[in-house]
């Protein structure tokens, strides 16, 4: 219901620290995963993706880790900045279809 949706998990980190955002997925057939960042009043923005044949992928200040055994995905943000404050979603898809299934999201708050 809406009361559940309002209580987004929140991660609060200090500027300059590293952030780790976690995501559990349930579909063992999922083979492609994406992390999105959504700022207030905007649509989701692609951050980084990973295919199921990999367990780690690095981008600029971001790293995604995939553990297929426990169906767990994490996003690591190095040297977190105020501009990183947003809601972060993981999304998964299976096969060649583009249909993405999004998780519920985590709100990242960066304190000065």
């Amino acid at each position: 219901g809406e009361s559940v949706g309002l209580h987004l998990p929140t991660l609060s980190v200090q500027e300059g620290d590293n952030s780790i955002i976690n995501c559990a997925y349930s579909n063992s057939a999922s083979d492609y995963f994406i992390w999105y960042k959504q700022e207030s009043g905007k649509g989701p923005q692609f951050i980084i993706d990973i295919r199921s044949n990999m367990d780690k992928r690095q981008g600029q200040r971001v790293t995604v880790l995939l553990n297929k055994t426990v169906k767990h995905l994490s996003l690591q943000i190095a040297a977190t900045q105020p501009g990183d404050s947003a809601v972060y979603f993981c999304a998964e898809t299976a096969g060649t279809a583009s249909k993405l299934t999004f998780g519920t999201g985590t709100r990242l708050q960066v304190t000065l």
């Binding site: 949706g5 309002l6 649509g43 583009s98 993405l100 999004f102 519920t104």
Partner: protein, 115 residues
């Protein structure tokens, strides 16, 4: 490069009224998606078009929601009649094609409030 455009940005209606949203995808993108995002939740796919054909509408409440993409470019999503639980942000996204590697680009969304 221009992004995905949506209008209106905000809409307030009373229940049982009708409403329509418009989306203009990124030029050249063959695939267009409509998502519903309820406050505090992740987006949920309503319908996916490939050019002007429907690829997936399994989660579209067809008794009240309809969508079209007649010329394979712009798209409209309509709700008739609206219910209170339709209050959400409606996001449009587009991608060059389908499958892995075809990044979806999202518009800013239309925030619908049903009173």
């Amino acid at each position: 490069e221009a992004g995905v455009a949506q209008s209106p940005r905000y809409k307030i209606i009373e229940k049982r009224q009708s409403v329509a949203f418009w989306c203009n995808p990124i030029s050249g993108h063959a695939t267009l998606y409509w998502y519903q995002q309820i406050l505090g939740q992740g987006p949920k796919l309503l319908i996916q078009f490939q050019n002007n054909g429907v690829v997936d509408d399994s989660q579209l409440p067809k008794d009240r929601f309809s969508a079209e993409r007649l010329k394979g470019v712009d798209s409209t999503l309509k709700i008739q009649p609206a219910k209170l639980e339709d209050s959400a942000v409606y996001l449009c996204a587009s991608s060059p094609g389908v499958g892995v590697g075809n990044e979806q680009f999202f518009g800013p969304g239309t925030r619908l409030t049903v009173l």
